[in-house]
């Protein structure tokens, strides 16, 4: 029997076959013959290897265990020469893992309803035909051929759809305002800046179902009378930008974008523009400045974008998710949509759950579901069976909601009534080992850094808030600091130009409102009840539990741990920087915080 030094397993899964697996097989044989390797390398057919949606056509090389994917026949000569002749792995052909593996979107849990996320993970985002097979672009056809712009607006109005980007303004109302302005040139813009840390709903939709957004925007453009659209996507999302560009190209090829769409006299085209790492560009007026190629500083409103927007023309800006809802509303009717949700908040909302909850990831639920259902029934409760402390909604401009409001039904008004906001849908669950002073400080660090500096209250005020919070965390808090925080917060809220400044104090205000005793403990007792603030804690190794395995000593970044192998180690409190790495790496829970 021949002895092969390598085996190439080529996937002949149906998707791979469709994408040319047979040709790859042939090319491999040819190249192996040409390089005189037929006796050394065996080619075999196998069933699916990677994720066919992502990797087809692909192959696996054994014994090296290298997975090459998205191959074309032209890659094969180089691959064979490099890998089998020269023994070098061809990095650029290696399978990329899904940028983020699908633990972020699991199968729908029992209380979920998927409207916006319905296609995510199900269809190939880079293949418009798969979108069309899921009724894609049917809504556009219906709107263009059976509906006037006014009836489109009425339909969206009846559905009750509200903006998913933050403020929850009635979408159809905004469309109507923009439509009314007697100007010939109008624009639609899509806010894909998703800057709230902890939020990734929009990214997922853009990467997995880009055509839903393209279709929704096109319908909006028809309703408003716009001929051009821009999707403003943050630079942190390169895959989303790439996917969108492919989607737009394909939509043009199919006549869903461009001149005389579907044979009507409606023409519309779209373009993706990238941000460059400025959070404030998520604010719609700043976003427009950025698209215009300028510094992304917010402008005073009025004039509102619907009157004077991009290049001074009426512009309608909506969030990714807002647009992604539109085709479904047109197709399935406004009554269907309005049947979900609460009195004032209709339909479903996507949330990104992160933090100390067991099942992190994306969910989509009808409005009206309670926080408890979200955290416990869908989220599976708190990790490591610790206690629930708070849930933070709405991003850096949102607030903390404590356990007493877990039964709050989630909608725009209810969240606002407890001092937080819906925001774009980030939810961060924190357990009882989280310090609320530290969390408020963390958010303030973010807003302070992202303030564009245009208004003094926001620029200087957030810095002052941060200083005070930092001082409290460092155990240097003074009597009166709590009151100073409250006063400053009020001033910043009242005197800032844009939503960033107006919302920046929210995390502090809510933390103070619901967790005041923690602030007092820091200030008056110099104690951090959650044992987080570094200046107020010490680490100690528990005698008898420590096995002397040395793992902590090897991982301590400042070499503060000493001790003989198999003997209890000790931490030198003066050298220790209280980073907590030892506690994380210890396998025996032998480290304690005092």
């Amino acid at each position: 029997m021949a002895f092969y030094r390598s085996h190439i397993l080529v996937s002949v899964d149906p998707k791979c076959l469709k994408k040319g697996a047979h040709e790859i097989l042939d090319a491999l044989q040819d190249e192996l013959v040409a390089n005189g390797l037929v006796d050394e390398v065996q080619v075999l057919e196998t069933s699916r290897i990677g994720d066919p949606d992502l990797h087809a056509p692909d192959l696996m090389v054994y014994p090296d265990g290298v997975h090459y994917a998205n191959l074309s026949v032209d890659d094969i000569p180089f691959l064979v020469e490099e890998h089998f002749l020269k023994g070098r792995i061809v990095e650029k052909l290696k399978a990329r893992e899904r940028l983020v593996s699908d633990e972020e979107l699991s199968a729908p849990k029992s209380k979920e309803v998927r409207v916006v996320l319905r296609n995510c993970g199900k269809i190939d985002p880079n293949n418009i035909e798969e979108y069309i097979a899921e009724d894609g672009y049917m809504a556009l056809a219906k709107a263009l051929t059976e509906m006037t712009p006014e009836t489109v607006i009425d339909t969206v109005m009846q559905s009750g759809l509200r903006g998913r980007g933050g403020a929850g303004f009635l979408t159809a109302q905004k469309w109507k305002l923009t439509r009314q302005v007697p100007e010939k040139i109008k624009y639609v813009g899509c806010n894909a800046d998703e800057g709230d840390p902890g939020a990734f709903m929009n990214r997922r939709v853009l990467e997995s179902d880009p055509h839903a957004v393209v279709e929704g925007m096109t319908i909006a453009a028809y309703a408003i009378g716009a001929s051009r659209g821009y999707i403003y996507c943050r630079a942190e999302y390169p895959l989303a930008v790439k996917t969108l560009n492919i989607a737009i190209m394909q939509a043009r090829e199919f006549g869903f974008l461009g001149k005389n769409i579907m044979g009507t006299d409606f023409s519309f085209d779209l373009e993706v523009r990238m941000g460059a790492g400025a959070f404030v560009c998520g604010e719609e007026t700043a976003l427009m400045s950025s698209i215009e190629g300028k510094r992304g500083e917010p402008r005073p409103r009025p004039p509102f974008p619907s009157v004077k927007g991009l290049w001074g023309k009426p512009t309608n800006i909506n969030n990714v998710e807002t647009y992604a809802n539109v085709p479904q509303i047109i197709l399935r009717g406004p009554q269907w949509y309005a049947s979900m949700g609460t009195e004032k908040s209709k339909g479903t909302k996507t949330f990104a759950m992160a933090g100390d909850v067991k099942n992190t990831g994306l969910i989509e639920v009808p409005f009206g579901i309670t926080l408890r259902e979200i955290v416990y029934d869908i989220g599976g409760g708190i990790k490591d069976d610790k206690g629930f402390k708070a849930i933070q909604t709405g991003g850096p401009m949102g607030g903390f909601i404590p356990a007493e409001y877990l039964d709050l039904p989630v909608d725009y008004e209810a969240l606002a009534s407890v001092g937080s906001i819906m925001g774009s849908g980030g939810m961060i669950v924190v357990d009882d080992e989280t310090c609320m002073v530290d969390m408020a400080r963390f958010f303030m660090e973010f807003t302070q850094d992202e303030s564009c500096g245009k208004c003094v209250p926001c620029r200087v005020g957030t810095r002052r808030l941060l200083e005070i919070l930092t001082r409290i965390c460092e155990g240097k808090g003074q009597d009166g600091d709590i009151e100073r925080l409250e006063e400053l917060s009020e001033e910043i809220r009242a005197a800032s130009l844009c939503g960033l400044g107006q919302g920046a104090p929210n995390p502090v205000i809510t933390a103070l409102k619901y967790f005041r005793q923690e602030y007092e403990a820091h200030i008056y007792e110099k104690r951090c009840p959650a044992k987080v603030c570094r200046a107020l804690i010490t680490y100690e190794i528990i005698d008898g539990v420590c096995t002397g395995c040395t793992v902590c000593a090897r991982n301590c970044p400042v070499n503060a741990i000493s001790g003989e192998r198999r003997q209890t180690h000790i931490i030198d409190p003066d050298t220790c920087i209280r980073c907590g790495i030892c506690m994380q790496v210890c396998n025996f829970n032998a480290i304690r915080i005092n």
């Binding site: 523009r273 950025s290 190629g293 990104a352 992160a354 980073c579």
Partner: protein, 178 residues
């Protein structure tokens, strides 16, 4: 032709023919686009790796706009850098989920191993360490982004392994060059 071109440092991309060609192509493709300045700067940052003061001057000249406008935009956005970065970047996500999930500890570890603070590049020019905003992979917190690749659930004792992947990449590149 241009006075400032004479004063451009020899190692600036504007002064290097092959990089200048890229810059010119980017400018020609986008300078008449509405709002093209952002597009141009993004492309320059992407393809050249930074936007030096001379590049800013050149862009201003080609677009017939004041240098101060270009500089104003470059300085506003955190993605634009005016000096070259290391061949690789390691970014630590400082988003909420990652902060809660232990990124601060990872940064300590990185400081210890690489000897540089966030924002700095290792002396050999190999690795730039940066902090970044939430990259949207929060369900895998704590997250470290090496070049474009996202590594999730990174524990402090796993971090050296990630560093090794970068070092391996470097080795491979230098071997392939040899």
């Amino acid at each position: 032709m241009l006075k400032f071109l004479e004063s451009v440092p020899a190692n600036d991309p504007v002064a290097k023919p092959e990089q200048r060609q890229i810059i010119d192509r980017i400018l020609n493709e986008n300078k008449n686009l509405p709002g093209g300045l952002m597009v141009i700067l993004n492309e320059l940052q992407n393809q050249i790796g930074f936007v030096s003061p001379s590049m800013q001057q050149y862009v201003a000249y080609r677009m017939r706009i004041p240098v101060s406008t270009v500089h104003g935009v470059v300085s506003f956005y955190s993605f634009f850098t005016t000096t070259p970065r290391g061949r690789h970047t390691i970014k630590f996500c400082m988003g909420t989920a990652c902060y809660v999930g232990g990124v601060p500890q990872l940064i300590e570890k990185a400081k210890q191993i690489l000897g540089v603070d966030p924002g700095q590049t290792t002396p050999d020019g190999n690795i730039t360490v940066e902090l970044c905003r939430c990259v949207g992979a929060c369900s895998q917190a704590p997250v470290v982004v090496v070049d474009e690749e996202i590594h999730g659930r990174v524990r402090p004792n796993k971090f050296p392994q990630i560093l090794r992947t970068v070092q391996d990449k470097e080795k491979q590149i230098s071997e392939q060059a040899a």
